[in-house]
């Protein structure tokens, strides 16, 4: 299965999903004009990946989100729901939600999302402070 690589823009994140290593990364800001349309190819890839995925292999999801608008938050929850479903079926899924300690809004957003999920492991990971 091909990797899914989407370059970042000012209002949409960089996406790098690798089926071979089961490593999914999303980095950047998300307030696209139409969140459902932007994430449609991401959903398509993820559904295909999860259908073919070896349930013994750990899926690792790393997120470094600086800003999520409200519609992207909804879409992100739908994305996590797919992962939570395979986790409920026994596949190990680890989500690392990385946040800047001085950006409480993103921490809160991660907490809101993690409360909605049952089976996957959702880690809130504080990123080291940048040296200034």
């Amino acid at each position: 299965m091909d990797k899914l690589i989407i370059e970042a823009t000012r209002s949409s994140p960089a996406i790098a999903f690798d089926a071979e290593t089961s490593w999914l990364q999303i980095r950047g800001e998300s307030y696209p004009e139409n969140a459902a349309a932007f994430y449609a190819p991401v959903f398509a890839w993820l559904k295909e990946f999860l259908a073919e995925h070896d349930p013994a292999a750990t899926v690792q999801v790393d997120l470094e989100i600086l800003y999520l608008n409200s519609s992207s938050t909804k879409v992100m929850l739908n994305l996590f729901d797919l992962l939570d479903q395979v986790a409920q079926d026994g596949a190990p899924v680890v989500v690392n939600w990385r946040y800047d300690p001085d950006n409480e809004t993103i921490l809160e957003c991660g907490q809101d999302l993690s409360e909605e999920l049952e089976a996957l492991t959702f880690n809130l990971v504080e990123r080291p402070q940048e040296l200034s």
């Binding site: 000012r10 600086l66 409200s70 519609s71 938050t73 950006n103 909605e116």
Partner: protein, 180 residues
């Protein structure tokens, strides 16, 4: 030139603490560009990163709400005045930032919006979080709106959302004011 007094306009913007104001076609690229201006401005202040991102977030939600409503009217033969009625303003008021936006609406859309705003105004932070949780599970509308934007604004605001309705020839002008 009498009716085109930019000095007076600029003075008035200054007196009202207005840092950034935009009125015109709300394309996505304009929303992005203005967002960059907002962020650049706030990065040069002593505002904490959380507060800065809250001002930015409220700006994005307002601008996208206005943009979505206006876009819906672009295709309508009678919708031209609504489609060009949007405005977003970011102002400083002492230690607070105030993000406001406005646009014309048709009467039929006003009542449900007012009911929703009054519902939000009556909720405390815990109530807003509970409603957010409930709305998070509702599907996105075709226009891309999720009905979450106003709740997110209310959660970031330091006082209840404020709004005003002004009757004008072409309909009702809706103004939303969020203090952060």
């Amino acid at each position: 030139m009498k009716d085109f007094d930019l000095v007076r306009l600029k003075d008035e913007l200054g007196e009202r603490g207005i840092l950034i104001s935009f009125s015109g076609p709300f394309s996505h690229s304009i929303i992005e560009e203005l967002g960059k201006v907002v962020r650049n401005h706030l990065e040069n202040t002593r505002l904490s990163r959380t507060a800065m991102m809250d001002v930015f977030a409220v700006y994005v939600e307002q601008a996208q709400n206005v943009g979505n409503y206006l876009r819906h009217w672009e295709q309508e033969p009678s919708g031209e005045r609504i489609a060009s009625s949007g405005i977003v303003v970011i102002a400083r008021d002492g230690e607070r930032y105030v993000v406001s936006s406005g646009n014309l609406m048709v009467q039929i859309d006003v009542a449900p919006l007012v009911v929703y705003l009054e519902q939000l105004r009556a909720l405390d932070k815990a109530g807003l979080k509970a409603l957010h949780k409930q709305k998070l599970r509702q599907p996105l509308s075709e226009a891309g709106g999720g009905g979450l934007g106003l709740i997110e604004m209310a959660r970031k605001a330091t006082m209840p959302l404020q709004y005003a309705l002004t009757t004008v020839d072409a309909g009702v002008f809706f103004t939303l004011r969020v203090v952060i």
